[in-house]
Symmetry: D2
Subunit: 414 residues, 4 copies
């Protein structure tokens, strides 16, 4: 045979997502040709489309290349075969040709039918439990010798994001980052979502948690009261942060400063840079932040609100930490697992004034979770997008202004 | 009649440019429905596609809204009528409903046939010379009472950019701006274009001019020698700048400093901030930069190279100027006209280390001119894109590193 | 004589301003030696100090160099001679060795006594009216042949800024720019100043004007209502801006958009980028912004507030302008003069979200005017400081958040 | 007694470092008065000064406050008492009033004489070995119950940095960060230092190590060859990085990409974002980076150079890591200790394109180590300074341009 052929099927909201021309373009770009044997384009917004494309390439290799390239757009090869499984060769090592996940909804073809991959997350492998017909993701470091891992791309399909129905800021996903957008309206949309999610959360609906991942600039810049109020009022259910946010929050309570600046006047205080060290030492002496709150040493602020409202708190350590505070997870892989657990059930993620924690959280979030990235530096949301978290909406503003405006939208009188 | 109908035709590289689904999406989004009566999709990269779409809407108004919205994608209404013309009511005032241009190739339908709009540029009006069957653009301030101006959108069509054939950095237009791209390879591609354009320029080919629009940071940051070399070597044919770039270039020659920093050592010099004033005063005393070069007062640098190589130089004034230097055009509208003239014949535009001049140049450039925007601040290329110059590729790096690397690519030994 | 000697006197708040050691250090750095013949250091904060320094250098030239270098610190040579005057050789050209001003309070020694230089401003020359014993500044371009201009440094003294008595944000002048400061407290201090200045303004006190220099991002980012309220409430008396701020303010009124984004929802509007053009055209048709306000076409917003409150408005043109609007001064030198006039009587300057206009305003402001520079990009306040406006306090935040917080501090309910 | 008095002594290069007026100003600012009973100011640059200041305050408390505030300037109370020691109450907890170190040279007064504090580092406690008369620093987490810790400020003195003799870029320490400085000359100065340090390093001189702390943008941006050359040529002796720099370096070797971008052309590669995962997996399969280099799997690049030149390599984990690579220290406190060890003997520190690792390294470096911080984002050096590493010089440029220019200065032909 001089050339190779395959017929693929493409279903779904082809128009909305501009997939069909992208697929055709990719085929041509990789040297193939195509014949559109069937095209049925939905004539209403929510009516699915269907097309069948016969692809021809110069060689089986070229064809495989094309199929590999168009697979992430949700293309299925007709008469799709089961996915291929190989055992992990050693603890912590994946088979050479393992399938690397994206954070889009994904299915594998096993025993003739499509199976959802549970807890999807980018840059992991897919581990299959053949006996119970289940598939899930596994980080490289967690794999055990003999675990069955999906290899190659055959029998794997991913579903591109559909544009959300709501006509709010989240329907303009993939927006470029710019400091010239009216942030106030984006904040109003976010507040509206949080109002709905709080109601759902109270009635026990799943995927109604709101996650805030925050950096210490929240405290330095004057956003402490607003964030504490949001937590106390039940709008935030999971908090990811590092040693610094917690330490400066406690410093603010014990000394009235943050990074040595007096918060009530914005002036540097002599020897104020020591305050966060003294705050950490005092909490270490007490044994835990919980104790400090229970014993009334810490009465207000972000940490006190978290303890009182039983917010799921993950404090992850970093190499620049002083102390650290009791409760900080110093092993980064252990912390990553704790964050992975904390992600479950999250329906909205706010990443505020932190690059490291924002990218780490972005790595763990499925693409289906609406995500907002707030930073005074436009490079942070760009970095997030560069690393695959394309669904994040970027707001270029300082953390305090964001949190104060958000809280005011939800009823804060500060 | 309860509803309104129209049939439109869409030709061209539909696949490459993802136009068809965008058009269909827009129709649905604005409440219309469609029937794809003909779809012929080119099966090779450069084979044109053709589709005919019957659109139905609830009212004539709704239909008009849809047609207005899809027109910029190159959609033509079948049996297209001539464009509408209205005389300008007063000098400097356009008819209320004037058609505002984009910087994409544009045609108007006049006397039954399509006519190119000459010297296309964004945010202008289209003026028609009926007698000679010619159409061109006119800035609001230049229109005279009675000039015939195109109004509405009927009989106007624009052509989306086709992806260039060359597989260099310019084929990835609309790329997001990021500081995490390997700039060195983009620079190699730019150098290659400049090599080709220099050859074409020497053989008198049109559209072979290279334009550099630059800010004073070129001089402060240490890019003076490289830029002067590029000009002396015939790689740059048009220079747009302000008073500051010229003043600091001359300051460097006369005092060895820039903004008061000694260029040979990077240290501030006592009273060095006065040097640019003294440089300007000396040139004013001589009468012109040309005289200063001819009389040997200025021997090297950017200005000397421009004079010697007869580079087309437009120095536009701004409100922060000292002096200014002789030759600076202080009236901004006069300067804008001079820049508009200088744009003619440009085949590559480099916008380096300036926000004001970069945006002003971007406003004047047709979308078909490959454009590079270099700035250490990623917000500058973003700003350019926000204002419509979407074809500009952004490089996030300092002006000196860019110019030195570019010149080295072209043979500079510095 | 093998070496040269001079005795200088240094008076004022030596301690506060760290001048004495700087002067001694400079003498040593330039190869001189010194003898501190008298040191009387004030032992209270507001008690002046006095010191007499005998300087010795290897040559008269070296001594002159030292005297030149220490003169800006307020050092006076004992037995100071009169300043030297030379006539300007031609219109628009200063004598070669003209004295270039700083923006610090300055005196010249004429006919045996010290004379204030009026309307001090950086980077100008000092022109002397011998007959009336007056000295003032003159821009290079305004000088006429024969005008008497101060040359050299003899007989000129400048007074370093004293630290203000108020313990607010302005007492920490020269602070580094950082996005990690609690801006809210700085804003409270600014609001307090504005409250005081409004009262003074109403009672006719001089130097009680508040100047706002603003860029169009104020409108894009959602700060229009807050700024309009500040003007309507009498907190702002002078407004410097370009064509863009005014055009987008009018666009917001006429179309509800800014740069094509719908302000009430933050979404792009089809063809919205044309709105500012249509707004400009409509005002041009009416003849002026004043007419548009008077006739009720423009009812609210920044421009309407300016007209109603008789705010001194200077709109300066730039090469990127569309239109421009009636009232925009297209000649940059004419605009600079209008800004120079507008500066008179200003007691507080707010430079918000503009690089070009902020630097241009900074060039005109005496160092004694408290100045705030607000930008989401920390490079803007740095640039201002690099160009000499060291007294400006930098706030790293977006324009809308700043203006909204400021207005709320002063009683706005938005 | 109605008021309190103390006499303090201030020695050293008072002029150079502007200390005296700062001390006097602080006394006044805190409500005290002073009498300068002795002032002897050195009349040559390297001649020490001496002054004796009698301080009077309203109360013993106020006096203590003043003494606390002026102590960091190197002020010693006459008849200085020994420092105070308290045992640590528990493992990992310091005495409440522990003295928190700065990163300036520090001594404590013990048994009547001054003792150097070894391995000074900011934000630690001082632990004293009374038997051997030695003092060193101890991190909060490392202290054991009963360890003797210095408390209060009595008997502690710190020595401000003296300005270096060399007249290179490092003599302008504390310079503001700006993108408008001629970086090329700063780089030439750095190269010169590295040339000297390499010679010293080869002859076994102490404090001759050059440390590079780097982020992955070095690889993305195209600086890999230059950095590998610098290491191979013996200019760099210690490398601090995270998992990402190493992974992308290995990805570049195995796949020719970085973050999925083909390095030889700057274009995205289909599925290229998986490459770093595959690279990590392959190294995990081999067991270690060393093995990969020894077996010839990895032949060139940064990691190969480090292994071959026996560079001291500390790879610290973070929560955003994939894998991680063998050799990465996942516990942040263990990694911090490894970095602390690696700092010993460092005579020059280059912090390139990383915020987290730069701040972490800055926290560990004594103020006496010349330090350069390179980032395309001017906020990074500012952040470093905000956290106390005031000695760092900031260069605003991209990592690749910096490393390429630096290597070219040292003889690289790339």
């Amino acid at each position: 045979m001089k050339y190779a052929e395959a017929t693929v099927v493409l279903d779904g909201h082809i128009i909305d997502s501009l997939i069909l021309p992208k697929v055709l373009d990719t085929i041509l770009a990789l040297g193939g040709t195509f014949d559109l044997s069937e095209v049925r384009i939905g004539t209403k917004r929510d009516e699915p489309s269907h097309s069948k494309i016969a692809i021809r390439a110069d060689s089986a290799d070229a064809l495989a290349g094309i199929l590999r390239a168009i697979q992430p757009h949700g293309v299925m090869v007709e008469g799709e075969e089961d996915c291929q499984l190989e055992p992990a060769p050693r603890d912590g090592v994946l088979p050479e040709n393992f399938y690397a996940t994206s954070h889009l909804p994904t299915q594998i073809h096993l025993d003739g039918r499509w199976l959802d991959v549970e807890q999807i997350e980018m840059d992991l492998a897919i581990q299959v439990d053949v006996r119970h017909s289940r598939a899930g993701t596994v980080p490289m470091g967690d794999v055990r010798a003999g675990d069955l891992i999906v290899t190659g791309r055959q029998g794997v399909r991913v579903f591109p994001l559909e544009r959300p129905r709501e006509r709010d800021v989240f329907s303009f996903m993939q927006a470029e980052v710019s400091s010239e957008r009216p942030n106030t309206y984006a904040i109003a949309d976010i507040a509206e979502r949080m109002r709905v999610l709080r109601k759902q959360h109270e009635s026990g609906r799943k995927d109604s948690n709101v996650l805030l991942t925050g950096g210490p600039a929240i405290i330095h810049a004057g956003g402490r009261e607003a964030l504490a109020w949001l937590i106390e009022s039940g709008y935030i259910h999971v908090l990811f942060c590092g040693n610094a946010l917690a330490a400066h929050d406690l410093e603010a309570e014990l000394f009235g400063t943050s990074l040595g600046y007096r918060l009530s006047a914005g002036h540097p205080v002599p020897h104020g840079h020591e305050h966060h060290l003294r705050a950490i030492n005092r909490i270490r002496a007490l044994g835990s932040i919980e104790t400090a709150v229970r014993e009334g040493v810490i009465k207000s602020g972000v940490m006190a609100a978290c303890i009182r409202r039983k917010v799921r708190l993950v404090m992850a350590g970093s190499i620049r930490d002083d102390g650290p505070l009791p409760g900080v997870i110093t092993d980064t892989m252990v912390a990553q697992h704790a964050m992975r657990d904390g992600i479950q059930g999250v329906g909205l993620a706010l990443l505020v004034a932190t690059t490291l924690h924002a990218v780490a959280t972005g790595n763990l979030l499925p693409a289906t979770v609406p995500t907002v990235c707030v930073d005074v530096n436009p490079a942070v949301p760009t970095k997030l997008a560069d690393r695959g978290t394309f669904q994040a909406i970027g707001l270029v503003m300082d953390a305090a202004s964001f949190l104060r405006e958000l809280a005011r939208n939800l009823g804060w009188a500060g």
